[in-house]
């Protein structure tokens, strides 16, 4: 995860809140949040090596496939659920978002933007896009449901989710005026803080 993204996620997570990180990787984000913001954090991960790293870091990690397991935590009342760079890999992203907002007051979602101009250019040339945040070729990618910034915001509107915060990064992983003003074309990555109405 790039540093601007981590910085923004950290900014949006209140001190001492209860956080669940779906697809928590090696647990670095949770570790930082525990150290810096005194959160009570849990990670969900499926990769064996990453789970091992979480345990070694002292992070509470649950081995689970996000596609199957989100609703299991419904009773746990989280303040923030994080789904960084994974939503497009799920079988049913819209249902996953609904489930996440059932177990948590707010939800941070990050997603690659398929409307980014370089992706459009690749498509215009007749090829599937390959960019820094969509690095895999079409036959290797785990992404099942890529969307554009516009698509995602339309989904939020249709599902009745409120977008409390949003932030856009260019393909250098940095903030830029172009990305902020015309995100659907110039943002490579979108970061959202959403809640139920």
């Amino acid at each position: 995860m790039n540093t601007s993204l981590i910085h923004i996620i950290k900014k949006w997570i209140p001190e001492k809140s209860k956080v669940i990180d779906f697809g928590c990787g090696d647990g670095s984000l949770l570790k930082d949040l525990i150290d810096e913001k005194k959160i009570r954090g849990y990670g969900v991960e499926i990769d064996h090596n990453k789970i091992q790293e979480c345990i070694l870091k002292g992070i509470s990690v649950i081995e689970k496939d996000i596609d199957e397991g989100i609703q299991d935590f419904e009773s746990c009342n989280f303040d923030v659920a994080v789904m960084a760079s994974s939503i497009q890999c799920l079988k049913e992203p819209h249902l996953a978002l609904r489930k996440m907002l059932k177990l948590s007051k707010q939800c941070i979602v990050t997603l690659p933007n398929l409307g980014f101009w370089k992706c459009r250019l690749d498509l215009a040339q007749g090829r599937m896009p390959v960019t820094p945040n969509l690095p895999s070729s079409w036959y290797e990618t785990k992404n099942l449901h890529l969307c554009t910034i516009k698509d995602f915001e339309t989904l939020c509107f249709e599902e009745g989710f409120v977008i409390n915060e949003k932030f856009f990064l260019n393909d250098k992983g940095a903030k830029s005026a172009m990305a902020s003003t015309f995100p659907n074309t110039f943002a490579s990555e979108g970061i959202y803080l959403i809640a139920k109405k």
């Binding site: 064996h48 789970i51 091992q52 345990i55 509470s60 990690v61 081995e63 009773s75």
Partner: protein, 365 residues
């Protein structure tokens, strides 16, 4: 590995959950490795139903390897070069701690069937007295599998400040209806053995061996799984030369006969009944009217919950229940479900991931 086996006498008495009291009691204890100067490298391991204080290594050629030898030892998952490992035989057991085979100091006669009912919480309380005796004010970890895992969980609940971590493996917060049902079949086999004499067999110089054997044979089926039995034995016929019972046809029958026979030589029938009753009776949420969350709020230790996919006695969903209750009340808890080659017994074996995870958990802050 520095190993010490010792019978420790406790004169302060112990009030049991049943309301009975032991005015004095003994614990047979084995330790491995050395306690450091700060006394903060101690790990308590709790044994399962038929285990005992002999958890690792062997002190003589004749002795069998300890029940968790795959996991405990120099360089192993629970590394005795780093940690001081303690294991005691549970009260009511038959390997040296006070139990049906010991003399009741009040009457100077064998306890036999009159040894009071003991519970998981009683065991934990007795182990707390043991930790005081050893001068250990905080365990680095308390761990166990199956009935031992229940003790590790109960430690975290009963003495939250007395342990840093708890390793809770292949277990549940309470026995399921099916668990109780299986145990009752085992007990029934023992009770109906003509040598059981309503538990008074010691005074008649007999042993309900056939009942114990049948109970253990059933037990072994539950510790294994359908797939594992298939892989291990299939439908292979038993070689005539190594038949231990004339009537057996298949290898699996011979295996169960062998295991049952061996067990009935060494285990005590009254202990069997006490241990299974303790297992059936355990319910972590009992003291809070069935609310597991309420009782788990007390926990300060970090938990590692491990289940095994082939375990049908305490299946993975039982592990997930512990994890979920912990998460509900902000207790730090990791939960992994491992591939188990050995059914319920998988927790005894040092599979690669299991070892790594235990090591990682022990090394974590």
């Amino acid at each position: 590995m520095k190993t010490k086996t010792e019978l420790i006498k406790f004169n302060q008495g112990l009030d049991l959950e049943s309301g009975a009291r032991l005015n004095t009691f003994d614990l047979m204890v084995e330790t491995y490795g050395e306690l450091n100067k700060d006394k903060d490298n101690a790990i308590l391991v709790c044994h399962a139903f038929s285990g005992n204080h002999h958890a690792a290594g062997k002190s003589s050629d004749n002795e069998a390897l300890g029940w968790w030898d795959e996991v405990i030892g120099p360089g192993k998952a629970i590394d005795t070069d780093k940690f001081f490992v303690v294991c005691s035989n549970n009260l009511g057991g038959c390997s040296g701690s006070s139990g049906p085979l010991s003399i009741n100091p009040e009457t100077n006669e064998l306890y036999g069937k009159d040894f009071p009912l003991v519970s998981v919480t009683d065991w934990v309380n007795s182990q707390k007295l043991l930790s005081d005796y050893l001068g250990i004010s905080k365990w680095h970890m308390v761990a166990g599998g199956s009935l031992g895992g229940m003790q590790a969980l109960q430690w975290a609940i009963s003495y939250p400040k007395k342990l840093k971590k708890a390793g809770i493996f292949a277990t549940a917060t309470k026995s399921s209806t099916q668990n109780i049902a299986m145990n009752e079949v085992g007990r029934e086999a023992i009770r109906k053995d003509k040598n059981f004499m309503e538990g008074d067999y010691l005074n008649h110089n007999v042993k309900p061996k056939s009942g114990l054997k049948t109970a253990r044979m059933l037990g072994h089926i539950t510790y294994s799984s359908e797939d594992i039995m298939d892989q291990k034995f299939g439908r292979k016929f038993q070689d005539i030369k190594s038949k231990i019972e004339g009537t057996v046809d298949y290898e699996v029958e011979n295996y169960l006969q062998y295991k049952g026979e061996k067990f009935s030589d060494t285990f005590d029938a009254n202990s069997y009944i006490l241990m299974t009753k303790a297992m059936d009776g355990y319910d972590a949420s009992f003291s809070s009217n069935g609310s597991l969350e309420e009782v788990m709020k007390r926990i300060k230790a970090k938990l590692l919950v491990v289940g095994f996919d082939s375990d049908w006695l305490y299946p993975p969903k039982r592990s997930k229940e512990i994890q979920l209750a912990a998460m509900n009340v902000d207790v730090q808890c990791s939960c992994v479900i491992l591939k188990g080659e050995q059914g319920h017994d998988s927790f005894l074996f040092a599979s690669d991931r299991y070892v790594k995870i235990i090591k990682g958990f022990l090394d974590s802050k």
